[in-house]
Point group: C2
Chain length 126, copies 2
């Protein structure tokens, strides 16, 4: 089933913002769409390694309902659906930038603190 529509008002701005961003892939979806401008479903799928079709559609629908993502269906065959950010979605991405910077900094700290830690490389995207 889809996401519960959140009962009760928000307590603060962070609360409201985290409500639309939390979801296993939403941050990445935002990033992909901001990077490429327009993406088709299968392109997003390939861009987010490990995502399932179910979660991708579910997240995209929620983000559309939240006014972050625009969904354009072209009545063709095979079907073509294009996703892009709305103006509101782009402002969210901008607001997330400092948090992303904080995150990469944190990753850096972790990797220098921990000695026993030689796994896969991290792509330092914002």
């Amino acid at each position: 089933m889809t996401k519960a529509p959140r009962t009760g008002p928000y307590i603060c701005g962070i609360d409201a913002a985290l409500d639309v961003v939390s979801g296993k892939w939403k941050g990445l979806i935002l990033w992909e769409l901001d990077e490429h401008g327009v993406r088709r479903f299968a392109e997003l799928r390939r861009g987010l390694p490990g995502v399932s079709e179910k979660m991708l559609t579910q997240h995209l629908r929620e983000m559309e309902a939240d006014g972050l993502v625009r969904r354009e269906v072209h009545a063709e065959v095979p079907p073509r659906v294009e996703y892009s950010l709305t103006a509101h979605g782009r402002t969210l991405n901008a607001a997330l930038a400092p948090l992303g910077a904080w995150g990469v900094d944190r990753i850096r700290r972790e990797r220098s603190d921990l000695v026993e830690h030689r796994d896969a490389a991290v792509l330092p995207r914002p």
Copy 2:
């Protein structure tokens, strides 16, 4: 039980940052501690209306393990435990500020869009 230690590396900074902030009350805890500097357990409890003791301790322990919160126990009776932000925690709060501003803006939009909407007032804290 407590939180699973997250398998696999982070994909990007947002990913890493959201990992430490997501949790029903963590944003509010950060805000409370930043606002007051130092808070005792019961003070935090009173500051977060609706939180249970279990969730509060659980979140505080996780945030301590993540290096965001400092916990000082004073060997007195009755017990006194003081919580405050570390430097790292304060930088996180700074990085969250734009997101908070985005959130209040979003709340404002919502409330002017929706007509049938006359419930409790929202405290517009950052």
